[in-house]
Point group: C2
Chain length 352, copies 2
């Protein structure tokens, strides 16, 4: 029965004043018990604790914070709550922060909304802000400058190359290099790129890794790689991969190995090839990226790359919390996480 019937003392206990009245003690005394201060009779302590348990009264955190108590809140600004890896990072970060006594205030940060989100966090006097994902460069750099100006720690997860930002980012280049080397070892020499651009964006982006691995074997990336991304509307999903596969099927001198930007595209491509009567990995190899659960559920299972989300999130939390209390570090800290190749059944030796 939602409406509280039993009206003992005040119907609602809202403050220590109400509560002290309810227990029959002075506000000061209640406050002392609440804060575990010495010099109180056990009997008094018990009386307060009992009433506390009965009424479920909790001191107003906002008043506490005004008096100088830490807020123990961290603002988390995510690009997007739709992609599985982002969601996993968020969930894991919440867990890690919780374990260290912080609560998480989570907001989605669409382009243009960054200002409001960060100001909202600031107004709540969060102790730090985490950005997860990829943002508009100028917008997020402005937000970070603001945070710095207020002495609020921050860390950016994923978005690499931001000026003055403490960053934890996945070395996707290393991941792709591992994939390409694995395929080179299997004899592959022509690679279809599914959603992966040819021009490198930064030293840790996928194309950089592909090219580095090829050049390491004295192969020319320009002739060894093929992309048909331009033929389809880019969606980075299952259907995009499937359509790409269909286009590749018709291509003369088709590559023997296909590198997906992510698992969805790779699985779509695998499906597309199978529908065209090709067998994976007998006729061609396919690889994904992210090591989502689905990789184990397809036939064949997918060779992919594990992001090491746990390491990423741990590093981010550590980097953020290390800044607490101390003066902010003079120059940005950038940490790179090296992902791990996960072998599945979708890659095999090239057949003459």
């Amino acid at each position: 029965m939602p409406p509280p019937r039993k009206s003992e003392a005040p119907a609602f206990i809202r403050s220590t004043a109400d509560f002290a009245r309810h227990v029959g003690l002075a506000r000061t005394t209640v406050s002392r018990v609440l804060n575990g201060q010495p010099g109180l009779k056990q009997k008094t302590i018990d009386r307060v604790q009992k009433a506390l348990a009965e009424t479920g009264f909790t001191p107003n955190a906002h008043a506490l914070h005004l008096k100088g108590k830490r807020t123990s809140m961290i603002g988390i600004c995510v690009e997007d709550l739709a992609t599985p890896p982002a969601l996993r990072k968020l969930a894991m970060l919440q867990r890690v922060l919780r374990a260290r006594g912080f609560s998480s205030l989570i907001e989605v940060c669409t382009p243009g909304a960054g200002r409001d989100v960060v100001r909202h966090f600031q107004s709540l006097r969060v102790e730090g802000v985490v950005f997860i994902g990829h943002f508009l460069r100028e917008e997020i750099e402005a937000r970070i400058a603001e945070l710095n100006a207020h002495g609020t720690p921050h860390v950016v997860v994923d978005h690499f190359g931001l000026r003055n930002a403490h960053t934890v980012a996945l070395d996707r280049a290393a991941g792709m290099a591992a994939v390409v080397e694995h395929l080179l070892d299997l004899g592959h020499r022509r690679f279809g790129l599914l959603g992966i651009g040819k021009g490198p964006v930064s030293r840790i982006d996928r194309p950089t890794g592909v090219q580095a691995a090829l050049r390491g074997r004295r192969l020319d990336p320009a002739t060894c790689t093929v992309t048909l991304d331009h033929l389809h509307e880019r969606k980075n999903d299952f259907d995009f991969g499937r359509r790409l596969a269909a286009s590749f099927v018709a291509l003369p001198d088709r590559p023997t190995a296909f590198l997906g930007l992510n698992d969805e595209i790779a699985i779509g491509a695998q499906r597309g090839f199978q529908e065209a009567g090709l067998r994976v990995p007998r006729d061609l190899s396919v690889t994904g990226f992210n090591n989502q659960d689905i990789c184990q559920m397809t036939s064949p299972t997918l060779t992919t790359v594990d992001q090491g989300i746990e390491a990423t999130v741990e590093a981010a939390a550590e980097l953020l919390l290390a800044q607490l209390g101390k003066p902010l570090p003079a120059r940005p800290v950038v940490r790179t996480i090296v992902p791990r190749l996960v072998l599945g059944e979708s890659t095999g030796p090239v057949r003459g």
Copy 2:
């Protein structure tokens, strides 16, 4: 460069007092601009706005709340941040609440932690609490009683049958009934249950729906359904489904249709059957539950049930926010969401 160099006025502007000093106005005047009160010269307003934009100063929300301003915070208590549907609900709820001007405070609520989580929410004076998932009955009922005692609105998503709880729950029985009827129409008469118990737990639980559909065709659930769950450690995942399939393969008089508790189990089972040389849906049919993205990525695609997460979350938000300001409703409101059958390629006519 993180450490702020330019020291114009105070190094850090922390309060309206600091800020007013910085702009060269009285605190009162600044406060008026901040709150859009009338009777101010445009020039003054502009001056304050400009300084506001430059410094990024935000009034302390905790002080505002002390003065009576609404916190606009909602506490969300999730059972678990690991299962995809729970994560999707959470993400969608955050979005819906955000759109209505509320920020979300998210905590995972493991058994025994409910008390601390809810008290934490209360101490921050959240305007409402949402529970997502399944909890220990006594624990969550105690928490809800506490919330009621404080006049804090709540809503429970998923956990059906709690005393005095406002609830939005999926009618899984209706979903399963739709699945079974679809299979009955295809001629199936023997059903393998994968992770679905035989005894109904409540009127909206899966077994209830299975039995209702069978009885509707004058069939006896006891003889029409088979479960082998007891043979394997229950994990509700891909491998559990796969192992169940292996056990069913060896069974004489094997069912022709298999109902998975969720998509993972169903996909695992499908894979298990295929590995044993059986073809889906030629030799047998398989169905899942939840309509996760993976259902479209398997071969064959999976017949499943869509939870209608959007409707659930909308209903939950509406139910919660309807309580704001008003006195709490005298008796609990329970809303049921009817899920939708999603046909895939994994179900087909039974073959003599």
